[in-house]
């Protein structure tokens, strides 16, 4: 019999995301085949480009670090029932705080630059995210729309700042470069394995952020309030939880997390702030959070997957110039579509399959009894 059974946890959390990714890769492969190139070869290049050497792996981990931050920014807001689509703008504005602190402290020592940039980035990111949070909580303006608008306002604001205020004369809308003394070391300076790849100390910060979010959401009072509000706002109100303060605090944390991307990318690697440095990582963070089921372990895996796609795409453009590197954007879009919006696609099928297994095993049990 094929009665539908509720799926076991591992099936919804591991099997379904894996099937979604495979389907996205399959469709991407079809696209490669349609333009007359070898899809197997393209996927091989993609995989080699992402993981093939310490150098490539370093890039993948570097991108994954940024995506961990932007993914956590979406995930933590999600636990409070908020859809934070503004990671892009939050990370962008945070870049301002990060680079200003870094440029101010860059004659001292990189430890101070690291601390200063982190404080600057998290502060500005938190403020930029808290405003839509406040507007949602107090004025009832929908956070999805407000955060989208704030992305565009951030983009206009930042291009003004970079072109007029903290600009480097002679360069095209970017700040001056951080002095040698203040440069945050790359991991390759301690592990030769990573060659000159950009993975840096922020990788550790990323791991700490994952653990921190886990503890915050599942092991603290604040996290309990956040989850209560997300699951049942009415219950939260009856329990005396202030929705306004929880929403603003959660959004501020989300913004601070998104802002950490600035330290990883702008301060540590590009060593200056350029126009549009976020490059869509804030949006990919949405995909990371949803694929990762808003859980730190899932987010870590999803961040590595998307980081690998990003880095593999660069390699693909190099090795197989006939395959446009935008293939990666298409695959990313499909992963977002399948895992975020079409999640129910495989579910009925899987439920039938699992149902069939269950009934068989339970019927054998009854026979034995």
């Amino acid at each position: 019999m094929s009665a539908r059974q509720p799926l076991p946890k591992w099936a919804t959390n591991i099997l379904m995301p894996a099937m979604n990714v495979l389907l996205a890769l399959f469709v991407g492969g079809l696209a490669v085949a349609v333009i007359g190139e070898d899809p197997i070869e393209a996927m091989r290049v993609l995989a080699y480009g992402a993981f093939g050497s310490g150098y490539n792996l370093g890039f993948t981990l570097h991108y994954a670090t940024s995506l961990t931050f932007t993914g956590l920014a979406v995930a933590i807001a999600f636990h409070a029932g908020l859809f934070n689509i503004g990671g892009e703008g939050q990370a962008y504005v945070a870049g301002l705080g990060a680079i200003m602190m870094a440029l101010w402290l860059d004659q001292t020592h990189w430890v101070f630059v690291l601390i200063g940039a982190t404080v600057g980035a998290t502060t500005l990111g938190a403020i930029w995210a808290a405003i839509p949070g406040y507007l949602q909580a107090k004025r009832g303006s929908h956070i999805v729309i407000t955060t989208i608008m704030f992305n565009f306002i951030a983009s206009a604001f930042m291009s003004y700042m970079l072109a007029q205020v903290i600009t480097n004369p002679g360069a095209n809308a970017e700040t001056r470069t951080i002095a040698e003394t203040g440069r945050i070391p790359l991991l390759s300076e301690y592990f030769v394995f990573f060659k000159h790849s950009p993975v840096n100390i922020m990788l550790i910060f990323g791991i700490l952020a994952l653990i921190g979010v886990y503890i915050l959401v599942w092991r603290t009072k604040l996290g309990f309030k956040i989850r209560t509000l997300g699951m049942n706002p009415d219950a939260a109100r009856y329990a005396g939880i202030s929705a306004v303060s929880i929403i603003v605090i959660t959004m501020a944390i989300a913004g601070a997390l998104a802002g950490m991307m600035a330290v990883n990318e702008a301060v540590s690697v590009q060593k200056r702030l350029v126009v549009g440095y976020v490059q869509g990582f804030g949006f990919i963070g949405i995909a990371v959070a949803f694929m990762g089921r808003a859980h730190p372990v899932g987010i870590a895996l999803a961040a590595i997957l998307f980081g690998a796609l990003y880095q593999g795409g660069v390699e693909l453009a190099f090795v197989m110039p006939a395959v446009p590197s935008e293939l990666v954007v298409v695959i990313q879009a499909l992963v977002i579509l399948f895992s975020g919006a079409m999640d129910q696609m495989f579910k009925p099928v899987l439920e039938r399959v699992f149902g069939a297994f269950r009934t068989r095993s339970s019927s054998t049990e009854t026979e034995e009894a």
């Binding site: 604001f157 954007v329 879009a333």
Partner: protein, 322 residues
């Protein structure tokens, strides 16, 4: 700024406003039926590419227009399956479609034309040309009214006139027809409609087809009427401005017209006001004007000027009880 400066400014305002208006009305049908559409941008981008690519390959811009509408409807149907049948997250589906268009257009464009994602330039007769209204030259001699008729009202492509016509049509459909009544109802209270024996699914599908058509025309306008080819990410956020306009217009067709014209004037002014010194405030940075539509929308949403209340059932998948 004299009278002769104002007409070109208004003229370019109209050109900026038209794609916004079409996309805004597209979003209106979708959101009034209860489906959030963040993917206006992606549909426009996909359509802009399809129009320019097919026009370049066949030399027939109207085939391009058909292709644009086809692509846009297909994307809208993906959104429909995700949000109506599979009851998925509508915001995520929109985000995914935007990415799909961003990557897909360059992927296909580069594979066909080998020009890094842009399409070849279209000749004048391969584009959607301007229409001169009757007696434009003659009336143009009349002072004041003449230049307005000759330069501002006459001489646009047919899409411009269609876009302006789409406003009263939408208002009529929404307020005076049975379909419109049901559309408004399904966005507010789908259950009531279902109880009355009307298919929520079908209505929402119909709305999303209209959304697809209008976004398709908007995209074709960008690449074959306003411009002469497709280039990477050529919509440059217009879909999101249209979304802002939709909220600013409080989901009403006539308001959509005024809002899009206002945002069009802002876009046109942005270019013209560069380096212009104002009395007292001095030079206004272009970024201030760039951000203005978004800032205005945030202020409106926060209820500081009036109140924007979205359709009640927007964003919630409808689950039919068995």
């Amino acid at each position: 700024m004299g009278f002769e400066d104002i007409i070109p400014l208004l003229n370019s305002s109209i050109r900026f406003a038209v794609p916004l208006l079409l996309a805004c009305l597209a979003g209106l049908y979708s959101e009034r039926s209860g489906i959030v559409d963040i993917g206006l941008e992606g549909k426009m981008l996909g359509a802009a590419f399809a129009a320019a690519a097919v026009a370049a390959l066949t030399g027939d811009v109207w085939l391009g227009m058909l292709a644009a509408i086809g692509v846009s409807i297909s994307m809208s149907m993906i959104h429909a399956v995700a949000s109506i049948n599979l009851r998925g997250n509508q915001v995520i589906s929109g985000v995914a479609l935007n990415f799909l268009a961003l990557g897909g257009t360059v992927f296909i464009g580069h594979s066909i034309f080998k020009r890094g994602g842009t399409t070849p330039n279209l000749a004048k007769d391969e584009r959607i040309g301007a229409i001169e209204l009757p007696l434009a030259q003659e009336i143009g001699q009349v002072p004041v009214i003449g230049p307005i008729y000759e330069q501002l009202i006459s001489g646009h492509s047919i899409i411009v006139y269609f876009a302006f016509l789409a406003v009263p049509i939408t208002a009529w459909v929404l307020m005076k027809t049975r379909f419109g009544l049901r559309l408004r109802a399904v966005g507010e209270n789908p259950k009531a409609l279902d109880t009355a024996g009307i298919s929520v699914f079908l209505l929402r599908y119909q709305a999303l087809v209209i959304t697809g058509i209008l976004c398709g025309i908007a995209g074709a306008y960008l690449s074959t009427a306003q411009g002469a080819n497709f280039s990477e990410n050529m919509t440059a956020g217009r879909g999101f401005i249209a979304l802002a306009a939709l909220i600013f217009a409080k989901w009403k067709p006539w308001n959509a017209l005024w809002t899009c014209l206002l945002f069009g004037v802002l876009s046109a002014a942005q270019i013209r006001l560069q380096g212009v010194e104002f009395p007292i405030i001095g030079e206004v940075p272009v970024q201030v004007i760039q951000a203005a539509p978004y800032v205005l929308t945030v202020i409106l949403l926060a209820g500081f000027i009036g109140r924007a209340v979205p359709p009640k059932a927007v964003g919630q998948p409808y689950v039919k009880e068995r």
